[in-house]
Structure formats: C-alpha cells, structure tokens
Amino acid sequence: MISWALVVGINHYHPAAGLNPLRGAVDDAVDFAEWLLDDQGGGVAPENLRLWTYPQHDAPPPAVANALNSPPLWAGDAPDFSRAPRGGEIRRTLDVLARDAAQAGVDRLYVLFAGHGLQTRPLDYRLPDQVCFLAGDYRPDFITESLVPGDYTRRMMRRYGPVEVLMFFDCCRTELAPYQADPPIGGALVLPTETNRCCGIGLAAAPGGTAFEVPLEAPNRGAFTRLLTFGLRNVRHNEVLTAGQLEAYLRQALPRLTSPRRQYPSIELDPRDYDLKIVQGPAVGPYPNLVIDLSARAPGSEIVVVYPDRSQTTLAQQPAPYIIPAPLGPYAFETPAGEVLLTEAHTGPDETHVHLQA
C-alpha cells in the first residue's frame, strides 16, 4: 500500500487571535507522524509526509527528525517553520495533494489537524454542522481565511482524491457566533474522477463540544490524538483494525480519559457502509497494566477476572495490588460463584486501577 500524509499541529497562535495557548498539539502531531512513518503503522515514506508544527518540536523521534530534514513542498512552496501554516496554504496543499495522489495511484491519504477549532452553524439545514480547524492566521475579525473546513474538504476528496482518505480533526467544535460567514469552499472545480472510494473523518468532539487536553490537572496531550495513536498501535482483532473498531474504542476510552468532563468522538465514513481496514498486522504493545486492589476484600477470599477473550484467572486476596499487563477491552470481576461484582473497561493508554470493595 502506498500512503501519503499531511499533518499539522499548532500550539501557539498569534496574540491577537485571543486563543489560549495549547500544550499538546505539537506532540500530538509528532506522535501521529511517528506512527505514519512506521512500516507497521501508516507505512508513509519520509518524502511523502508533510508535517508542519508550530512551534517546532524540541526533540522529535529519529524517524520524524529524519523526515523533517528535507521536507516536501506545500503547494509548490517550501514550508516556513518559523511560523504556523496559514489557512490558504493548507487548503491549497490539500487540493494539490488530493489530485496528485489520485494521479500517482496512491492508496491512502492521511490527514491530521491538532489545534484550535470551531464549528459553523450553517443556514442551510441540509448541510451538516461543519468542524473547522483554525490555521495560524486566525483573527476573530477576519475568520474566513484561516478556516480549514472538514465537510468541504471531505467533499473535495470524494470528488478527486485518492482511493482512501482518512482525516482526523483534534480540535474543539464550539459554535461560531451564527452571523459569521461560511468558510470558503476552496479547491479547483473539476468533475468527479471516481478515484476515491471512501473518505473518513475522525472528530474529537460532538457538535458544540470541547476537545480536551489531558491530564486535566496538568495537560500535555490532546485526549483524542493520544488515544488515537494508542488505538492505532494496539487495538486489533485477528490482526486487523477497522474504522468501526477504532471508533468504538475511542468512544469507550475517551470519556474515561476526560472524566468528569464529557467528550464524545466519532469517525464518520462516506459512504457509511465502506469496510475501511486501517491497519493489518499485529499490535505493537506492550499492553498497559491492570492494577487490581483486593485489599478491602475478606482475607482468604478469591476473585475471578474475566478477560475480553472470555479467558479467566483467579486471584486470591492479598494486601498488595496485582499489576497485570492486560489486553484492551472490557473486564468483569466476579466471585467464584459467578456473582458479577464489577465491570470495567481497560482502554489505556495508562494503567487502569480497579478497587474491589468488601
């Protein structure tokens, strides 16, 4: 499979933008880029990865650093890493990339945006509420130019993009005040090439929702991309990860990571019934730990742990917690007689702590 990619991560916007600085968007973009460059991951060759973060990452992983040594052009221009990319630059590059990738026979195009975002509230009820990523030239008094629109980009990809396109928007979907104009459609107008078979969009939050950075008390990563890259590396069934599985995983895992705040992600495929296999190959691992505390249970008692694959193990009560590297999925904790005491989802990327009461 031949894959290309475009990745943007912006932590710092212009002071006049009135936006809080982010802490995790650059790390999110670099982490995703590292997965893309991995042969067991996205399988993107370094010369086909367009990565632009602002500011530059302090110490990118070797594979990413190598790719940044000779970055490809963005719509014919060399990227200026001393500033954040502008909306027009991103839109033009997506347009050129889509057409070039289709003509070159590329199988898949990956796109990720990590940073601030908003959602338009269109006048036309038939148009979906559209998530827009805010590029580096965002200004509240002249918004249009800085918007990278999700739905318009999806339509463009469906018209003349490569065979499969998978886009992720890790940004908020707080609603734009309704009297603002719609984002530009952008893109040259050509008739459909019928090359594209599917375009998927992964959205970090529900309409009107916030995409949080975690951990909440000292954020350093976007919750969505953190789980996205973890899921891409570790969620499998028979060594396959589909878009549906990834969405189900993200929807189970994200609320636990952002609790007590609520964040509801989604992955929407166009067309809906396309069977998109994102990864085929073993999980990277290692599994995160399941920490099971039975100290409150009666001495001599036992607990049966039921794994996602239905296998079981019996643990005796002890003062110290059990630390078990465990595959991802739902778990049940029962008495030997079969009474279910607790169910818990072990979704990573950190340890899951389970405390069973007396």
């Binding site: 936006l19 038939r126 952008g186 069934h237 079969g338 989802a345």
Partner: protein, 530 residues
C-alpha cells in the same frame, strides 16, 4: 510492587441470551469485547440476541446523545435483560430522568405546577412560555426581552404575572401565560448574540401551547484594542426552543410527550440521522398538532434526500418505505386542525412537488412558518407562484434576516420592520440572473464528458472569496454547489436555488444581482438586459 502474569483458563463457550430494551426513538448498538459491532437496531423496542457468553458493550443513542454500559453475559440459561436509553436529551424542556440535576428536576415540577394556577382566561386557548435558566446563579430576569405579539405586531398581555414571577425567579426560571384566540402569533426575544428576533408560534383551537425556551450562552470574541478576548454571552438560544401542546383542560405535557418532541426536532434538524417509525406513530396518536408537524417535516426532508439518492440510515429498510413515507406524511397533515397554518401549507406544497402531483394546494402564507425547512419549501414555491407569500415586512425579515436557529425559522425584527421588499420578478428574469452569475463564476459550459481541469473553471479561489461580502459569498457558494451536484449538465433550477438558499423569488433575484455586481467588480447591478 511486582508485575503478575497469572495463568488463565478458557472455559468452553456457552450460548446465552441477551435482551436489550429501550424506549422508542433510541438506537441500540451492541459491541463485543474486540470493539466489533454485533447487532444494532431502532424502532424494535428490544433486541433479543443469542450470543456466546462473555463481555459486551451496549450503546444507547437518541437525539445525538449516547450512553454506554458494559455487561457480563453469564453462561447460564436465564437471559440477561438490560433496560436503557432513559437519559436526558439536550433540550429546553426540563427532564426528570435519573441523570438530571436537582435544579432541573425542580424546574420540571414547576412546569407541572403551572397547571395548578386557577382560572381560565377570556379565550379557550393559552400560550405558556417557560424560560429556563441553566443554573440557580442566573437569577436575573431571563425573560426581560420576551414578548408575544399578534400578526399585526401588537404585544399581548400576560396573565398572573406577579404570582409567576416571584416563584419563578427563586427557581431560576421565568414563565408567562397568555389567553389568546386560536391563530398565529409571534414570539420576540433577544438572543445570546444580542439580536432581537422573532419566530412564529401557533395557538391551536382549544389547546394550550407550551413554549420551552432555553437561556444559554455562546463564546464570542470581544475586541479590546488590538487584541481579542473570548467571553461568554448569555441570552436565549433560539435553536433549543421546544413547542408542544396539550388540550386546554389538561395539565402540563407529559415527560414522554416532551421526549418525543425532542427526538422529532432533532430528526428535523439532522436529516441524515435515523428516524424511528415508532416515534412517528406516537406523534400521530398523541393528538398534538406540533408533534404531527415535526414528524411530517422529518419525513418530507428524508423523502427529498431519497429523491437525490443520498444515503440515509433506515434500519428497518423495506421496499414499502417510500409508500409508507408519502402516506404517513399525508395522514399527519390531515390530522391538523382546520385553518391556514403556514407549515401545513408548506408541507402540502412540498409533498405534491415530491410526488410530482399536479393537484397541489393553492393558497398563500399569512405568516412565516415555524420551521426553517418549511420556509425553504415556500421559497421554492414562490418561483412559480408569485402570490405564495404576502409582501409584508415579516416575510421580508424572514427572507433577508434569518438567524441560524434550525430547526426553527427565526429572523431579526429590526430589519423586518424598517425594510421594504424588492419588486417581484418572473421566472424568466430569475433564469437570466442565475445564468449571468453562473457565467461570471466560470461554471457555464461544464459538460459531463470533460474530466480535466480547465483554467476557465477555476473559480472561487481564496482571493476571490475573500473579496466578496458574506451574502455574496453565500450566493456564489450556493450556485457553485448546485452547479456541481448530480450530473451538472443543465442550467440551475431557480426553485432549487430558492429553496437551497431560503430566499423567495424576489429576494433571490435581488441577491443574484448584487452578487453579479460584486463579481464584476463594479456597482452596476444586473439589469433585465444583461
């Protein structure tokens, strides 16, 4: 602490039974432990599945909200029964589901308490407006700007104002009661974007209309010198309003009726989302004309998409679907009270267009309708029937000053009151105006057999887009979207453009003329001779 790797056993798989139940309008999805979908359904009432014992995740979804739970299916004969889907929907109507706050539960009790107020007014109809504040801290009079007006714009006088005010403010809500004749009224208020707006509300014969209005907030950027600061503005969020009715001799609407209203309004606003036929049946049997309208509008909107071969989720797909849709929509409309209800008329027009029936109802709207989609259908109608709308300021306001508040039609009153409408224009004039703009955008002459980028088709580049006014950009985007949709071989249908933009014929012509002038870079508007 040390890492453990305890031995695991794998008992033989035993087929067990999982029964999942949910109310109408709730989609049930079951996932296995590998995050793979097992089964899903809506409108079934329950899913009864034979599955290997193990762990599963069940997701309940309604009106865009979801709830999940993990279940352990034991290897025993007794089926595991899971009931779910009883959670609060994002709505202005107060809920009593287990997950709501005590504050909201108190407001639900307050709604029920309204009916305890004694005495009937002069008329057999009543409009009750319930403005809900998000929390007890919002103690300001949230209904300060609220007004109910008649068709002429004259404000109506509310009843029991003092009694309602004292009790209401203590609980963080405001309420007004109006005794009114049956007919069409306007609700005026200030939104959280500091716009004074109006929307239509009906007083059905011998019924009590409840309007639940949400006092919300939205983040906006405020300029401070050269910088901007994000602040939250509070006010009424027009998109969250819920309208429902009960018989005049009945108390407040039931929680179930409010739930049905929430789900149907979500279905009207989100046309690509699933629509449960059971919810439509409930709307039909409820006797509430609002619910009947919402269900008919939700169906008609989906019929449009079917006609355009768009993909819509329909879990109970059958070859009878289209017949069911058309007949059900007509039955719902037939149950509306007699009278010239704008939404009913708009729906009849749309259904006759979709069925290509020549026997469409004549008549004209006496006021803008409730629903935004109905307004679009009326706008499309106005291309061939110039008298479909009366040339009044309310129609002009709805045409030129709409606020995005789907599914409702909401417009700014200031522009409606001070502006004069453009001169009427015939269909031929519209064709020419559309052709001129299409040509200026470089879209003319696109043929189906051309699949290469032609320089003259390069349009709406960022530089052009940045120079257009917001209204011109919307017009250009609409023309482009319609020109490139479907086979894109013929001229754009003026009715389709009018409906797409929600602009009646005269307004559409005016807007096309202004857009042509901007694209041409001069002040000269499009003339009949262009």
């Amino acid at each position: 602490m040390s890492i453990s790797k305890p031995d695991r056993t794998s008992p033989p798989s035993v087929e067990s039974r999982l029964i999942v139940r949910a109310p109408s309008g709730v989609m049930i999805e079951v996932f296995d432990a590998a995050f793979l979908p097992v089964e899903s359904g809506v409108g079934l009432g329950e899913l009864d599945l034979a599955l290997p014992d193990g762990l599963y995740t069940i997701r309940f979804t309604a009106a865009g909200q979801s709830q999940e739970q993990i279940v352990r299916l034991l290897p025993i004969a007794k089926p595991l029964v899971i009931n779910g889907g009883d959670f609060a929907l994002q709505s202005a109507s107060p809920s009593t589901t287990p997950d709501v706050s005590p504050h909201e539960r108190g407001q639900a009790a307050a709604v029920a308490g309204l009916s305890a107020l004694s005495g009937r007014g002069e008329h057999a109809q009543e409009i009750v407006i319930f403005v809900r504040a998000p929390d007890l801290r919002t103690r300001a009079d949230v209904s300060r700007s609220l007004r109910l007006v008649d068709l002429d714009g004259a404000p109506m006088r509310s009843r029991d104002e003092e009694a309602l005010s004292a009790a209401a403010l203590a609980q963080g809500y405001a309420a007004r009661r109006y005794s009114v004749p049956a007919g069409i009224f306007g609700l005026r208020f200030d939104t959280f974007t500091r716009r004074r707006v109006q929307q239509t509300v009906y007083a059905w014969p011998r019924r009590r209309t409840f309007a639940f209005v949400e006092y919300g907030s939205i983040p906006v950027n405020e300029r401070h010198g050269e910088r901007f600061r994000r602040v939250r503005r509070r006010g009424i969020d027009p998109a969250r309003t819920v309208l429902i009715s009960t018989r005049s001799d009945q108390s407040a609407p039931t929680q179930e009726a409010l739930r049905v209203a929430d789900i149907l309004l979500h279905a009207v606003r989100n046309v690509g989302d699933f629509l449960d036929p059971v919810i439509v049946d409930q709307a039909q049997q409820s006797g509430c004309p609002f619910l009947a309208l919402y269900a008919a509008a939700a169906i008609a909107s989906r019929m449009e998409l079917s006609m355009a071969s768009a993909e819509v989720r329909w879990p109970n797909a059958s070859r009878l679907r289209k017949d069911w849709e058309a007949k059900t929509a007509e039955d719902l409309l037939a149950n509306l009270p007699r009278g010239s209800w704008p939404d009913g008329l708009c729906l009849e027009w749309r259904l006759s267009t979709l069925s290509e029936s020549k026997s469409s109802s004549k008549g004209a709207l006496v006021a803008p309708p409730l629903l935004d989609c109905a307004w679009r259908w009326a706008s499309a109608r106005s291309v061939s029937f110039a008298d479909a709308m009366a040339p009044s300021s309310a129609f002009y306001g709805a045409a030129r000053a709409r606020e995005p508040a789907g599914p409702w039609l909401v417009w700014r009153t200031a522009q409606a009151l001070t502006s004069k409408g453009p001169d009427p224009i015939g269909p031929d004039g519209l064709d020419k105006a559309i052709e001129a703009v299409t040509d200026r955008l470089g879209l003319s002459g696109i043929k189906a057999d051309k699949n290469e980028l032609q320089p003259e088709y390069q349009l709406i580049t960022d530089s052009i887009s940045a120079k257009l006014s917001p209204a011109a950009r919307l017009t250009a985007n609409a023309v482009q979207t319609l020109a490139m949709s479907g086979s894109a071989t013929g001229p754009i249908d003026p009715a389709a453009l009018a409906g797409f933009m929600g602009l009646p014929a005269a307004e559409l012509s005016s807007q096309l003329s202004a857009t042509f002038a901007e694209l041409s870079g001069d002040e000269a508007p499009l003339s009949e001779e262009s």
